[in-house]
Assembly symmetry: C2
Homo-oligomer: 393 residues x 2
């Protein structure tokens, strides 16, 4: 695992994206409002919140056996757990007394998580991740955790957003990626959505999250390691070849447009696993052109609408964006991240209408997955579900 | 990931363990009965089972992005799912008509899984894992999956076994490890127990499983990679140093006997995570002396009894044994596995009396764990629970 520390990264934003209206919550956390239409007018957060802790409330410890960083966040025991609807912290709150979002309404709102796994508190820009050797390595839980509210509609879902709103969310993710990657000590920016009580979601209001990690995660390290080895073996980019092979074969492709391809991967580990790639090699969302971002938002919606049609009920899922650092000047390599390829990986833990996939001994103990559907079966079922969702509308 | 293929490994069994009575089930699968007392007398399996498939019913595909092998086992869709008690396939069946175990009673029974993730069918000893490069790599799901029944008592649990029975199970695991590691094409032998409906266990009768993988799993590859790097850095064994550090500090130690130590690890990722080490560096269960095996069985029981006292209800858990290959002559190194250190890792998904830990975006998408208890809190709670379980008896 290579840790990237203290890098003053610059990320070129090739598109001019939406600029947020910024405000501050009662305890000093930042909130950003993004709009495609009229700018949101923030209200005042009148809540009597305890001040944020002067030190990061979380710690990082390095597992000496495997090298992973573990985030230890005891304050998260107090986090809001399935509140009644009237107390939803993600609904707009014109009075600034009951939710995290002091505004009469909003399009997309982003704020710092009140119960974060990582925090910038007290560490400032001086954070340096300790060296990777030795035992007993512990440090402050530096980083940033953001909540992204996709809509003010409590009963909505990402799948039911309009294409324009989905595109705005893509632009918001790009904005946050550029902003967070540019900060000292941030190694990796991770946009994701957990959806469904079955995977432990504690707030029903449609939202995703962003983690700015101060370390390179094990998955990212593993993928970049494979891509580097593939380059040595073949002289080619791993992900370009994966995409070309899927498009050639076609049997697992779900969506193919001018700019984007969605497919069930050759070695799908999860029920309903789908990967969504731009057709052109980009490192992250900030590199997309306007037409590419439009296509990506639409393809992503198509997959999510197919998800909910698969068993005729909202599908629990994780949507996991893989992004890498652009070169400082937007062209040349950015270390080993130059091989990285922007894409989304979506998967569910629902393996049939009435059964869940559990991670047990082989998966959790050995990282060795067993699946009971072939990727081709998964693709056929999802293709049919996408067809049904299109007919429904 | 280094794949070990076609190795005709020899494993020294330093102790003389129990030898099984062998029999054959109606479809040709092997069943083994182990006893500390009188040998079990197998009956005849009279069931009209379909013959085992001539080819392995499972396939392995290599994930080109990360290098993992994924086991694709569509036949497992038909596996027995929470049968009524009278149809329990793991209860003794004197008539040989209703369960997998044709015997009036048994102590410990081991048989090949009827719905395996890996199978020796049709591949025989000629299996060679394909080279690790390239895309679209697929091969037969070679290997072996065994079910280990710890007791004939349907309503029992591992925690409620006697120390003598727990010791017999340790000996059975050692026997199976030696047998399976010696087979061509087996890279890794993994003994584990999944316990609890909350983690998807489909049969209530107390049992564990053994997977003989034809590949080195990602977790094992990662751990051995760290151990090799640690040897280069320090000239020492990683696990010996981890154990020494835990014993020195003591704040996370739960059980410490002459031969065995159980502790919450420094960077526990899971609720109630406990590691159980022999105090002497052994690669696998076959290397233990009699007193070490006795101590290990007792310490393991102590932890499991503490688990069930933690919230006053059966705790869902995964118990995951880490074993490595002994040198052929029982002394020198066995490749990079010589650095490996036999131990058990136990963990739960229950993070409080009424809440589960779910693996969501950060864990499943990035292998980056967030916990909401410090390892020291976990140790204090488990120490108190072990105390309660001892007073209860």
């Amino acid at each position: 695992m290579t840790a990237v520390t203290g890098t003053a990264a610059r990320v070129d934003v090739n598109r001019t994206g939406p600029q947020p209206v910024r405000a501050t919550l009662a305890d000093g956390r930042e909130i950003l409002f993004f709009s495609a239409g009229e700018p949101t007018v923030p209200g005042v957060d009148h809540r009597d919140l305890p001040p944020r802790p002067a030190e990061s409330p979380t710690r990082l410890r390095r597992d000496p056996q495997i090298g992973d960083w573990v985030m230890i966040a005891p304050a998260r025991q107090q986090r809001t757990y399935q509140p009644p609807r009237a107390m939803c912290p993600l609904c707009p709150d014109p009075d600034g007394r009951s939710s995290e979002i002091p505004a009469a309404d909003y399009e997309v709102a982003v704020f710092e998580n009140r119960f974060p796994s990582l925090s910038t508190a007290a560490v400032g820009s001086g954070f340096v991740l300790p060296a990777a050797t030795g035992l007993g390595i512990e440090t402050a839980g530096y980083g940033r955790c953001e909540v992204v509210c996709f809509t003010s509609d409590h009963d909505g879902s990402f799948a039911r957003l309009t294409a324009a709103r989905a595109r705005l969310v893509v632009d918001v993710w790009a904005h946050r990626t550029a902003d967070l990657l540019a900060r000292d000590g941030v190694a990796e920016v991770y946009c994701f959505e957990n959806r469904g009580e079955e995977i432990g979601v504690t707030l029903a209001h449609p939202h995703g999250q962003i983690y700015a990690y101060p370390f390179r995660t094990r998955r990212t390290a593993g993928v970049l390691g494979r891509a580097a080895a593939y380059r040595v073996d073949t002289g080619r980019n791993l992900f370009e070849d994966i995409l070309a092979r899927e498009v050639d074969g076609g049997e697992r492709v779900l969506v193919r447009t001018e700019h984007v391809t969605a497919f069930v991967p050759f070695a799908a580990r999860w029920p309903a696993e789908v990967h969504v790639y731009p057709n052109r090699h980009c490192r992250n969302l900030t590199e997309l052109t306007d037409p590419e971002a439009d296509d990506l938002a639409r393809a992503y919606l198509t997959v999510l609408r197919g998800y909910d049609a698969l068993y005729g009920a909202p599908l629990p899922y994780v949507a996991s964006w893989h992004q890498y650092r652009s070169a400082a000047d937007g062209s040349g390599p950015a270390g080993d991240e130059a091989e990285g390829y922007l894409h989304a990986e979506l998967f569910s833990i629902r393996r049939s209408a009435d059964k869940l996939k559990y991670l047990a001994g082989s998966e959790s103990g050995r990282d060795a997955f067993v699946t009971d559907k072939t990727p081709e079966q998964i693709a056929a079922e999802l293709r049919a579900a996408i067809g049904r969702s299109r007919r429904l509308g």
